[in-house]
């Protein structure tokens, strides 16, 4: 193996002209933004107000400084652009093997701009890159596309949904991981880029091996001490569906488009049920010790918690095989499972009947093809509900469909949904970690007390995590304390949790500034009215009342103040970006 060239480089691809060049990433960008989400957000500056489907809008694949090393859970990258679903700046972190192979090709990042006159595949190796004609792959599913490119390394591809501009289409990693939620598959499709394949043999250097190894041992010890990670009922054993029973017990599993918060039949798709039905085996991202992904004995990828809950409870479906088939269909069509299921659920409530198990498969195909009713459903729940004259039925924030944690059951989560820069996402501040999973400590899930600062700190910390790029699940055990040491070991430069949170704060505020320039205001930082007017499913000694709107608003104002924003959520001046590196 050869050593990685330093400084770090990115490949800039202009699909309109077909020109490609490797250029050095300014070192000050890496110091100020680390990589991944942070680097992508920085590279987007100046083009953040362009249309997501405009040729000049970049689509950025950015790894992080730990990628390519044995740092646990770090074989990941972030994909950054502007979302056609939400209109916000958008990033998504994904694992698999793609990021690791991209680094091994001698690249820290790829920036794709322009629009190819015909479908192409970008093929990258450590010795060069080329654009391949992909007319034969256009219209093909993700699985067939990946198989066709299997001799070119790891593949990130879109399916028919991305080609047809479904607003919640994914970019799928060949290993089954998704760049999900915000429709970046459609951005890729708008550029006529069917897939990116990467391969290489370069090694990421570690500056201080002893320090790195010590930090890695600390991380692994914390993983082993974490019941959520390596506990016998944890995600390593059962994958994220380990949460199904817990969310049922906590009475916060969104059911029938969030009309209720308990689904009596949820045990049909719980972690143990999936293991029993499919002989689930451990699988996961390159080099990850957790192996939270699960595959059936026949090799099929098995669904995550959000997927089983939303194709299950949210649509009133208890048939596990329907849920697994829906997951596989979405993966092959290249669509986000959360938004697909939530959009079907909103549509179902609007028409007075949730889709039956038999209807789900054809509906998913119709969405990906924009055929019949699928054409409207491909627009996501907000546009569907508005078109049907029932805007209140879209359970979304900034047009991003909410995942499977009902905000009436976790008030930090309620606040975090609205402050998330990419819309209704659970992973930005991830308060489920302390409100439900008690990591690193427990907080009172039915209280707003202290939540404004908790959410702010967690958003900053997780922006740093997304810039490293590491997996959020690692932080059910470890903390930035150990990951700062890993980073110091790799780079040879000192980092601390505090310095990383400051980087995260810069990333978060930059994103918010971009969103503000795209017209987002405090009015967009709001939950659907249902959560303030309708109770969840109380019982078993747990009361799930509607959220107190006045208290929610007060905590949001507090959050803005902690962030240094005005009470209306705006920036106190227009010069924020100029002050950033």
């Amino acid at each position: 193996m050869n050593r990685m060239p330093r400084p770090e480089h990115m490949l800039v691809v202009d699909l309109s002209s077909g020109r490609m060049r490797r250029e050095e990433i300014p070192p000050e960008f890496l110091r100020a933004y680390l990589g991944g989400r942070g680097l992508g957000v920085r590279l987007l500056r100046g083009r953040h107000t362009l249309s997501p489907f405009g040729p000049a809008m970049p689509l950025i694949f950015a790894t992080g400084p730990l990628c390519g090393t044995p740092a646990p859970t770090s074989a990941r990258l972030s994909v950054v652009s502007r979302s056609p679903l939400t209109g916000t700046v958008y990033d998504c972190s994904a694992g698999g093997r793609f990021a690791w192979r991209l680094r091994a090709a001698g690249l820290f990042a790829i920036l794709v701009e322009g629009k190819s006159p015909r479908p192409v595949v970008l093929a990258v190796t450590s010795s060069g890159e080329e654009l391949l004609a992909a007319d034969n792959l256009w219209t093909k599913g993700v699985g067939e596309t990946v198989r066709a490119l299997s001799d070119r390394g790891s593949v990130a591809a879109i399916g028919p949904a991305g080609e047809n501009a479904v607003l919640f289409s994914n970019i799928m990693m060949g290993e089954g991981n998704a760049v999900g939620r915000g429709g970046l598959g459609a951005v890729m499709g708008s550029k006529n880029l069917k897939a990116v394949a990467v391969d290489g043999d370069l090694r990421t250097p570690v500056a201080d091996r002893e320090r790195f190894d010590r930090a890695r041992a600390d991380v692994m010890r914390l993983f082993r001490a974490s019941p959520v990670i390596f506990g016998e009922l944890g995600i390593s054993e059962y994958g994220t569906p380990a949460l199904v029973d817990l969310m049922r017990q906590r009475r916060m599993a969104p059911t029938e488009n969030f009309r209720r918060t308990v689904f009596e039949d949820s045990s049909a798709y719980s972690g143990p049920a999936i293991r029993a039905a499919y002989g689930a085996k451990k699988d996961g991202c390159f080099g990850c010790p957790i192996q939270c992904k699960k595959r059936a004995s026949d090799g099929r990828s098995l669904p995550e918690y959000e997927t089983v809950s939303h194709f299950g409870a949210l649509n009133n479906i208890s048939d596990l095989h329907t849920i697994v088939r829906s997951n596989n269909a979405c993966n092959d069509l290249g669509m986000d499972t959360i938004s697909a299921a939530a959009t079907l659920s909103a549509w179902g409530e609007a028409r007075g009947r949730f889709p039956s198990p038999e209807e789900i498969g054809p509906l998913l195909s119709d969405i990906a093809a924009r055929r019949g009713e699928g054409d409207l459903l491909a627009e996501g729940s907000r546009r569907v509900a508005e078109t049907l004259g029932r805007p209140g039925l879209s359970m979304s924030v900034k047009s991003l469909e909410l995942p499977a944690y009902d905000p009436r059951g976790a008030y930090g989560m309620a606040l975090a949904y609205v402050t998330s820069n990419r819309g209704g996402c659970h992973l930005r501040a991830y308060p489920i970690s302390h409100e439900i999973l008690r990591k690193p400590v427990a907080s009172d899930r039915f209280s707003f007390s202290g939540k404004a600062r908790m959410i702010k700190i967690a958003e900053d910390a997780n922006a740093a995590v997304d810039s490293l790029v590491a997996c959020k699940f690692a932080f059910f055990g470890a903390s930035l304390e150990e990951y700062a040491e890993l980073l110091a070991g790799v780079t040879g430069e000192d980092h601390t949790p505090q310095s990383m949170k400051e980087i995260g704060e810069r990333v978060y505020l930059t994103e918010r500034f971009y969103n503000a320039e795209n017209g987002f205001t405090r009015a967009d930082d709001d939950l659907p009215e249902r959560f303030f007017t309708e109770a969840g499913s109380s019982g078993e000694g747990i009361e799930v009342p509607p959220i107190d709107r006045a208290r929610f608003g007060a905590e949001l104002t507090k959050y803005y103040r902690i962030r240094g924003l005005r009470d209306d959520g705006s920036f106190p001046d227009d010069g924020f970006l100029e002050r950033q590196p």
Binding site: R221, V228, F230, S267, G450, R453, I457, E481, S499
Partner: protein
């Protein structure tokens, strides 16, 4: 919240009365306690992206002695809790506290959870909640306590005032734990309501009698095919609503929030037929478990790799990491006969055939025996014999 943790720190006797400052910030900074320490806590907190800071003079001078005895810039306790969660404890000497002590302390707290500041005491932060700052303070206090016991046994007293302070600790402060005046339900306990009530009561006893560091430890009771076990990061003195019922056949994963030692509890139940398990971190037992007189042993990481079963009186000592790391394999085979076992550098597991009374009294007995044995060795050491803590 500030008042709650101030009261806890005083109640568990880990701070000098009145020498405590706590700061917490939401959209405004709040601080309470001794004026100098609350001001320091607030100043430190203003440098950090955290929820809370505790700054206090510990009720024992052991952390200060460790700082002054240390040649490096950190204290490195070798007990398992510290290895796992704190890693090491940075120290800041008086010279670096001149000028802007808050900045000097905050610089170290930006890397670790707690620091020892010369002439001030222990300062700890809580990144997510104020409770975390309390926990981290308490963990540093506990870690320094255990390490100092071992260091004194190994190296004797080195500094002026140490011997006198230690004598005062031994003769005036030390209260051997006891089970006296505590009421335990006779087993077997059959209904979930009774189990939960007893688990809450015994958890509280364990904290009140000083058998844990801060409030950590875990407790469980088995009824039929259900294990009722305290949740991870649960305060043993506040277990209402923090006990998970976990089916033994794993048909539900609700227990994903259960203690990290769930697997150990399950295996102990399988191996012994017991109904009750109590796990705590009594300091003398933790310290004594780390003493080994085997010379030239090839095992370097004794705390996790030692496969021997050593005996401390009639109590077996085994090694093993927390959680999925090995403890769950090594404790069950040895605990059935004696009804108790010590995990190297970690704490005590004790079982009850039917109820918690037996387990609690076993833990008390172990700690008292370890205390007696510790002072016997210390007194013997004064006569010239040394015992070397293993790594």
């Amino acid at each position: 919240m500030i008042a709650k943790y101030a009261e806890k720190l005083h109640r568990d006797r880990s701070v000098v009365t009145g020498r405590l400052g706590i700061a917490a910030q939401d959209d405004v900074m709040l601080s309470e306690g001794a004026p100098d320490l609350s001001r320091l806590a607030a100043d430190v907190l203003s440098h950090l992206s955290c929820l809370g800071v505790v700054a206090a003079a510990p009720s024992l001078p052991f952390a200060e002695f460790l700082l002054r005895r240390a040649e490096a810039e950190s204290i490195v306790p070798l007990d398992t809790e510290t290895r796992t969660f704190l890693h090491d404890i940075p120290i800041v000497r008086r010279g670096k506290l001149a000028g802007n002590p808050a900045a000097a302390i905050a610089a170290l707290l930006s890397k670790r959870k707690g620091v020892v500041a010369e002439g001030i005491g222990i300062v700890a932060s809580g990144p997510v909640t104020l409770e975390q700052a309390y926990i981290h303070y308490s963990s540093v206090f506990h870690a320094c306590h255990v390490k100092y016991l071992l260091d004194v046994l190994q190296d004797g007293f080195r500094l002026p005032g140490e011997e006198e302070a230690f004598r005062a600790f031994r003769e005036e402060r030390l209260r051997p734990p006891s089970a006296e005046e505590l009421a335990f339900r006779p087993g077997p306990i059959e209904t979930p309501e009774d189990v939960l009530a007893e688990v809450r009561a015994v958890g509280r006893y364990t904290v009140e009698r000083g058998l844990v560091d801060s409030f950590f430890g875990n407790i469980s009771y088995r009824v039929g095919d259900t294990i009722y076990i305290s949740q991870t990061a649960a305060s043993l003195d506040e277990l209402a609503g923090c006990v998970d019922p976990v089916p033994t056949d794993n048909r539900s994963t609700t227990g994903i929030t259960a203690s990290s030692e769930l697997l150990a509890h399950r295996r102990i139940y399988e191996a012994t037929g017991a109904r009750a398990i109590l796990h705590g971190h009594p300091k003398f037992a933790v310290a004594m478990s780390m003493l080994c007189d085997v010379k030239d042993c090839p095992v370097k990481d004794c705390w996790k790799d030692c496969t021997r079963v050593r005996m401390l009186g009639d109590t077996p000592i085994v090694a093993g990491e927390i959680g999925a790391g090995g403890l769950a394999a090594r404790v069950p085979p040895v605990i059935g006969g004696p009804g108790k076992a010590i995990v190297y550098g970690h704490g005590v597991f004790a079982i009850g055939k039917d109820g918690f009374g037996e387990a609690f009294r076993s833990m008390v007995d172990i700690e008292n025996r370890c205390q007696e044995e510790y002072f016997r060795r210390l007194d013997t050491r004064a006569g010239g014999e040394k015992f070397k803590p293993s790594s």
